[in-house]
């Protein structure tokens, strides 16, 4: 059954600011299976980090609208109370590797204690039991036991990121959300971390949502991909469709703008800028920059579901 792990239905998250209401997540729907990696790709300001916050209910105070459904294992987590969500969902069934998390490790705690913390807090384990599990998770992410007793500053960037990953995996969550997990890392370290993620996926059949602006890196851990633009998903497809033959004009241009090492191609760019999320245009939000715009684009298209399994928010595919 499609979406047997996660089903997000019509999710909205708007923020109140001095300049107006930022419609960061504006009607997002998608689903995920177990043991699936979903890549969410978009440029800055498209709403992908807000999508993470909406799913994990990590909300700031200036929320204007927060509605929709997030079904995890068939249960709508949006209906949970704050307390229930905290004790049963966040960091239990769903965990997060936040952007630049590796720089947010507590400098005065030993790394092992930090990684073990979710088990002590959420599952009431004793410290020595939690540390034993931390050791096991360290093995999974490829960090030696010695580092359990070290402090964050003694670890290199790559090792810190692995420690953060360990922290996200230790409660054996159904879903791990990765928000730009490799963008601060060097190329070789990045490739190493992607190898770690791949092996975790195989060994644990772990499901991931992988959010990034780095299009090429997403292909390393991607069964399906979703492209976000101006707070909405404009294309949702499996990885072969997504990388080799994107349908939505924005997705197409985005792929065309990625320089490739192994084949020479004519690189394209998209003139102009994404629209403001405070006052998004009516009609299709990409129309102003679209090379295939035509009359219907004055109306906002729905997300059409095509016969080959993909969804495209574009009148060209009606």
């Amino acid at each position: 059954m499609a979406g047997n792990l996660l089903r997000v239905n019509d999710l909205y998250l708007h923020f109140r600011t001095m300049k107006g209401v930022v419609q960061a997540v504006d009607g997002v729907s998608f689903d995920m299976d177990r043991n699936e990696a979903l890549a969410v790709i978009g440029e800055s300001g498209c709403g992908k980090t807000s999508l993470v916050r909406a799913i994990l209910r990590l909300l700031p105070r200036n929320v204007d609208t927060y509605k929709g459904n997030v079904f995890l294992n068939g249960v709508d987590t949006m209906k949970y109370s704050e307390e229930r969500f905290r004790s049963e969902m966040r960091w239990v069934s769903m965990s997060l590797v936040a952007q630049a998390a590796m720089n947010a490790l507590n400098p005065v705690l030993r790394v092992g204690d930090q990684v073990a913390e979710p088990l002590i807090v959420h599952q009431g384990l004793r410290k020595h039991e939690a540390l034993a599990q931390a050791s096991e998770v360290f093995r999974l992410v490829g960090v030696s036991d010695d580092f359990l007793n070290r402090y964050a500053f003694e670890l290199s960037g790559g090792m810190r990121q692995r420690a953060i990953l360990a922290m996200a995996l230790i409660t054996k969550p159904d879903l791990v959300v990765l928000d730009e997990p490799t963008s601060a890392l060097d190329m070789l370290t990045q490739a190493n971390i992607m190898n770690v993620l791949k092996s975790i996926k195989r060994e644990l059949e772990q499901s991931f949502i992988f959010i990034t602006h780095d299009v090429a890196t997403t292909s390393e851990l991607c069964d399906r991909g979703a492209v976000m633009y101006a707070g909405q998903i404009v294309e949702l497809a499996n990885s072969h469709q997504f990388y080799l033959d994107p349908y939505h004009p924005y997705a197409y241009k985005l792929m065309a703008s990625v320089p490739t090492l192994r084949e020479t191609k004519e690189l394209e760019f998209i003139p102009g800028q994404p629209p403001s999320l405070i006052d998004p245009p009516t009609g299709c939000r990409f129309a102003a920059r679209c090379h295939r715009r035509f009359e219907p684009c004055d109306q906002e298209p729905p997300l059409f579901e095509l016969a080959d399994g993909r969804s495209v928010k574009c009148w060209l595919y009606k």
């Binding site: 190329m187 490739a191 090492l261 084949e263 760019f269």
Partner: protein, 338 residues
């Protein structure tokens, strides 16, 4: 010697070391950020300097720009060695070079309008008349396509997008008609769809003015589109130097091989395989390993040789230089020039 025949830039066995402050219980040492780099750069050529963080590429560029004093070796620009320039001459030297940094917003003073930002280098270099300043400012803004100029000239940096801010940084780098531009990760903080636009702009400007460009990046994928030669830096040295196509076809140095293996293209098949890359991290620049600096991580390290002696530069193919003992049967590069 004719000015046209003269090599624009020659870097000779350059070393830039930073002294560590003394600790109570440890001897002070040096962070050897650049430790023996030699190459030539002719007018009009774009050179890509690729390496991971801590490889020395930014320090190398800043030393060339005159922002750091070389600890050893020299930087020779149009025949004049940097070490012999007096203060006044340094200022004239800096007018010949432009610098484009990574963070466009950080590079622009937030309290100055675009006009003031662009007038500043002109003023410092004694172009004081408003008409001359205006004319030059208009020229550069047209060139970076921030038009109509009147729309932009009174704006402040925060009113512009990242891509537009970077265009202002480029305009400022160009305004004194430099002969060389050092661009340090000029697009890595910009969105994917904007990067190509800015890189193409830089390329156009380079070709229009026959500028030499040193393009520093960790993103090897962009290099083939925007430069003629690549230098791979590792632990303060250039381990491989070659024309772009030659390097992409034959990556001789094991570190270059690792880099190229590590970089993904957007290919759905990537999710099915693991990448075979060496473990470990780049070495400390205070105490680099003896012998070849890559040997602790190198899958092809030759016992008894690589950990003992620093390899000289070999030339396995024309114009293609490698610092690696694997090529010891090839001819040596006599004057080790890149």
């Amino acid at each position: 010697m004719q000015a046209e025949d003269q090599m624009l830039l020659s870097v000779e066995d350059l070393r830039t070391w930073f002294e560590l402050r003394r600790w109570v219980f440890a001897r002070a040492g040096y962070v050897k950020a650049v430790d023996g780099v030699t190459f030539d750069l002719p007018r009009g050529e774009a050179l890509a300097l690729v390496g991971e963080s801590g490889s020395g590429k930014t320090t190398l560029a800043r030393t060339i720009l005159g922002l750091y004093k070389p600890t050893g070796g020299d930087v020779i620009f149009e025949g004049m060695p940097l070490s012999q320039l007096k203060k006044r001459q340094m200022r004239a030297y800096r007018a010949d070079l432009g610098y484009v940094q990574q963070d466009p917003y950080g590079a622009l003073p937030p309290f100055l309008s675009l006009r003031s930002i662009l007038a500043e280098p002109l003023r410092i270099h004694k172009v004081r008349s408003k008409e001359e300043q205006d004319q030059r400012i208009n020229e550069v803004l047209e060139e970076v396509k921030l038009t109509p100029v009147s729309d932009f000239i009174n704006k402040f940096p925060h009113m512009l997008s990242g891509g537009q801010q970077q265009r202002v940084v480029i305009a400022r780098a160009m305004i004194l008609r430099p002969k060389l531009i050092a661009a340090d990760e000029p697009v890595s903080m910009l969105d994917a769809s904007v990067r190509i636009e800015i890189l193409k702009l830089l390329r156009r400007i380079q070709e229009a003015h026959n500028l030499a460009v040193i393009y520093i990046t960790h993103d090897l994928s962009t290099v083939r589109y925007f430069s003629e030669r690549i230098f791979i830096m590792y632990a303060a040295r250039t381990v491989e130097k070659a024309p772009v196509d030659s390097l992409l076809e034959n990556h001789f140095h094991p570190y270059t091989q690792a880099l190229l293996t590590a970089i993904p293209d957007p290919d759905p098949k990537n999710a099915e395989t693991f990448r075979d890359i060496p473990a470990g991290e780049p070495p400390s620049l205070v105490n680099p390993p003896l012998g070849c600096r890559f040997h602790p991580r190198c899958p092809h390290a030759i016992q008894g040789l690589c950990e003992v002696e620093q390899p000289p530069t070999f030339l396995p193919r024309p114009q293609h230089f490698v610092e690696c003992w694997l090529y010891r049967d090839e001819k040596k590069a006599e004057d080790a020039q890149g």
